[in-house]
């Protein structure tokens, strides 16, 4: 069907060969904005994170304090801007760690198979069977809360799910003839998972990474809400909600805005992974 294709529309040149959805683009911009905030917080925050700026607590929105003040009279806007560092940073680090471990193990298990796969799968299934919040509470309560501990804990909790997901995808790719050809050529494990399997599963794995990021943000927020996350005077968004929960009856903006921040980040990530740019298969127009 490559001969004299007629086209009734003016041909639009897709230089990237991808179709980008507007929802996905907006979601991406929101995430990008939060990432920029996390990096530049000290430059753009009007007040230092722990500074008590006013003796009046739970103030409403005003020109001086756009998001009001918290239960100690600190500027909520500044605290949210600083909180982005913890929420985005810790979540990003742990999701990267969890997916790197999970996906690598998953692909290796699919390629090697046999007893290695069985042992690894059963071990990680055992980890899945422990409720994630209980496990996080126990680990952090036992070891104590610090950034590395939080990152590792969250990574350990989300690795088995990532492993299961990647393994299921990799098993399908592993059954393709091109992987058999590479095996019979005598290729080693490293090449097989890197060059033959990974490119075939990277799309769904990225979508899974986005979803897992959302779960981690929520789990981190709930841990901080329970007082086991980021420790004062620093606070991530979950901790901000928790410490200002008393203002709920006073209709204080101090409890609303951190919640909105969590919602905007998690919803944006979700929308982005649902609307990732789609590769356009029909390339004959710009060939």
């Amino acid at each position: 069907m490559s001969v004299s294709l007629s086209s009734t529309r003016p041909v639009r040149r897709w230089r990237l060969g991808y179709r980008i959805s507007p929802v996905g683009a907006v979601a991406f911009l929101v995430i990008l904005a939060w990432a920029v905030v996390a990096v530049t917080a000290p430059l753009i925050a009007p007040h230092p994170v722990g500074e008590i700026v006013d003796f009046d607590f739970f103030q409403p929105m005003s020109a001086a304090y756009p998001m009001g003040t918290d239960y100690l009279g600190r500027d909520v806007l500044s605290r949210i801007l600083f909180g982005a560092r913890y929420t985005v940073g810790i979540s990003l680090a742990s999701v990267a760690l969890a997916c790197l471990t999970g996906v690598t193990l998953g692909m290796a298990a699919a390629v090697i198979g046999g007893a290695f796969e069985a042992a690894l799968s059963r071990f990680l299934d055992a980890l899945i069977s422990i409720p994630s919040k209980i496990m996080a509470l126990v680990l952090v309560a036992a070891i104590g809360s610090s950034m590395p501990v939080l990152i590792l804990t969250l990574a350990v909790i989300y690795t088995p799910g990532s492993y299961r997901f990647a393994r299921a995808l990799a098993v399908n790719v592993n059954a393709m003839d091109y992987v058999t050809v590479a095996r019979v050529r005598g290729e080693r494990l490293g090449y097989l998972i890197r060059a033959e399997i990974l490119p075939g599963i990277v799309g769904p794995v990225l979508a899974d990474l986005g979803l897992r990021f959302v779960f981690i943000v929520l789990l981190l927020s709930s841990m901080s809400f329970l007082g086991l996350g980021v420790q004062p005077p620093n606070a991530d968004w979950g901790a901000l909600v928790k410490e200002n929960i008393g203002g709920l009856s006073l209709a204080a903006p101090a409890v609303i805005f951190p919640s909105l921040a969590i919602a905007s980040l998690t919803i944006s990530v979700n929308l982005l992974i649902d609307n990732l740019p789609q590769k356009i298969r029909d390339r004959s127009a710009d060939a």
């Binding site: 490559s2 294709l5 007629s6 041909v11 003839d177 050809v181 075939g200």
Partner: protein
């Protein structure tokens, strides 16, 4: 005879995922008289199925009729509402799909599905329809016509299911039946029976038919007229005998030429003392638990032996399930043999490829049937061909680039193709890349597993020519596995016939002039449709023999 179908200047457009609009049917006009069978023939993508489906007033999702008319029995299909069209389907026009297995619901009995269309239309009482269905089963030469309807689809064979789906199409007394490649998925011995049954029923009922196929020889047996399609346009139309004997259009001639491949080259008798390249001795392989003797529970290969001399080709033919592909996998070590020996150049090979030496892996390359799954869609052609060069020969940098260009030249592909990905190539081009990858290893023996089966006739013929040329240049040997006997004979001087995991016989050009002697091989060879009208009617096969072997 009065006119049943009139198609006038039919145009159908499809929309691609980039929003681009492609015209896939470009002004097609033809007629079908009552009781006449017309074949639509062409390569994949020629629009033959799209036209056939539009005779029922149906277009596939994404397609749209933009011009022309289809008039069926005096009614213009395009002017009807969807509900009115639905009333005509099954009673005036019906459809026999390519895959009967996919067309039957595994959860209902066959009879319920055969009479379903009558029940929906309310055209006759169900009890009467059941009696009629039994009559159709008998007319279609199905075994146990009274009781076969009580079975479920998985309880009958593929050939029987295809005939049952014809019964389903015929139950509403249609005037036109559309057959969409109904025998393509069947083995040749089964195909003969199914074709015979179709033909008898259609003739008896005076039913008009549209037979969609890419196989000229099959079409020659059943059609009154042939319409040759390409790129959504009619290239040539005429009576079957005229098309076959006096083709006018160059494309039709090309199709016919591709169907009659030249005979295999007969190399000069080789020195008998030279050790054979490949020896397979008493190989047993299969799946499932191993018993006390180390033999698997389900044996696919039951003691197969063969020899292949250097620079020669060996063909392996047989029907689906005879173990021919398993044999290739066993020789390649993908499925380790439970028993028996495999020797390459006199060296014994380990049953499992993991224990084989790198040189052995390099010397023996396997080329799979489907280039779609055998080429990684995420790598460029350059990467696909470059890897074996780097892996086996340690080539890098400019020498590797030069060798990739050389390989592309060898398989007659333009060099700039190296930057593309497999998804951007045609089926024939992909199969050439698949072959070039095996050549990159500098293999001595290439196992070709049905490498032309997924290709159109003309493209497949070009691949066969390429294989012959490469053999002359590189002194390769091929083990050529196919269900298509004509293709195998075009490239192999010796042919092994397999049946149910055993070697029936090995045909040599110097023994009995290469003709089969065993009953099964004779049946298999005689079932291959020949490119002349009346072959099917004149075919005399022993019914006892057919029943004994073609139980599928």
């Amino acid at each position: 005879m009065s006119r049943l179908v009139e198609v006038r200047d039919l145009r159908i457009q499809a929309r691609t995922d980039a929003g681009r609009i492609v015209e896939i049917i470009r002004g097609v006009s033809f007629d079908i008289d009552e009781g006449e069978i017309v074949a639509l023939i062409g390569e994949s993508g020629s629009g033959k199925t799209t036209i056939a489906l539009d005779l029922m007033g149906y277009t596939r999702p994404g397609c749209r009729v933009t011009g022309g008319t289809v008039t069926l029995d005096g009614v213009e299909m395009g002017a009807l509402s969807e509900g009115e069209r639905a009333r005509m389907r099954g009673s005036l026009v019906s459809y026999v799909p390519q895959s009967a297995a996919a067309a039957f619901n595994p959860a209902h009995t066959i009879m319920d599905q055969v009479v379903e269309v009558v029940r929906i239309h309310g055209s006759m009482p169900v009890a009467e329809a059941r009696t009629k269905a039994v009559g159709l089963f008998r007319a279609l030469a199905l075994p146990n016509p009274e009781t076969i309807g009580e079975r479920y689809p998985h309880q009958v064979s593929g050939g029987q299911l295809q005939r049952l789906s014809a019964a389903m199409a015929l139950i509403g007394d249609p005037k036109l039946v559309i057959f969409d490649e109904p025998t393509t998925a069947l083995d040749v011995t089964t195909q003969v029976e199914v074709l015979r049954a179709f033909k008898a029923v259609m003739r008896k009922g005076g039913i008009a038919g549209v037979y969609v196929s890419h196989d000229l020889a099959v079409v020659a047996q059943i059609a009154d007229r042939i319409i040759v399609l390409r790129h959504g346009e009619i290239q040539e139309a005429g009576r079957t005998a005229d098309i076959l004997e006096r083709p006018q259009h160059p494309y039709t001639r090309q199709l016919l030429a591709a169907f009659r491949p030249g005979a295999a080259p007969r190399p000069a008798r080789l020195d008998q003392d030279e050790a054979p390249l490949l020896v397979v001795r008493d190989v047993v392989a299969g799946y499932g638990k191993r018993d006390a003797n180390g033999l698997p529970a389900l044996r696919i290969l039951k003691g197969v032996s063969l020899e292949l001399a250097r620079g020669r080709n060996l063909g392996i033919v047989g029907e689906s399930g005879c173990g021919k592909s398993t044999l290739a996998r066993v020789i390649a070590g993908i499925l380790p043999a439970a028993k028996g020996e495999i020797l390459l150049e006199g060296r014994p090979l380990a049953p499992d490829f993991r224990q084989r030496r790198p040189e052995d892996l390099r010397d023996l390359q396997i080329v799979f049937q489907s280039a779609d799954t055998a080429l990684n869609p995420h790598q460029s052609i350059g990467e696909i061909l470059g890897r074996p060069l780097a892996f086996y020969h340690g080539l890098g940098g400019r020498t590797r680039e030069a060798r990739i260009d050389q390989l592309l030249d060898m398989v007659r592909l333009p060099r700039p193709l190296r930057h593309r990905r497999p998804g951007e190539l045609s089926g024939g081009q992909k199969q050439r890349i698949n072959l070039a990858r095996a050549l990159a290893a500098d293999a001595k023996l290439i196992l070709c597993d049905e490498i032309t089966s997924a290709l159109d006739t003309v493209v497949a013929a070009a691949i066969i020519d390429l294989l012959k040329e490469l053999q002359r240049e590189l002194s390769l040997s091929y083990l050529f596995i196919s269900h298509d006997i004509e293709t195998v004979r075009a490239i192999c001087d010796e042919v092994v016939v397999m049946y149910k995991g055993e070697k029936v016989e090995q045909l040599r050009p110097d023994v009995n002039d290469g003709r089969p002697t065993q009953p099964y091989s004779r049946l298999l060879f005689s079932s291959v449709p020949q490119l002349r009208t009346g072959w099917l009617d004149g075919l005399a096969q022993d019914p006892e023999l057919t029943r004994a072997f073609a139980q599928r």
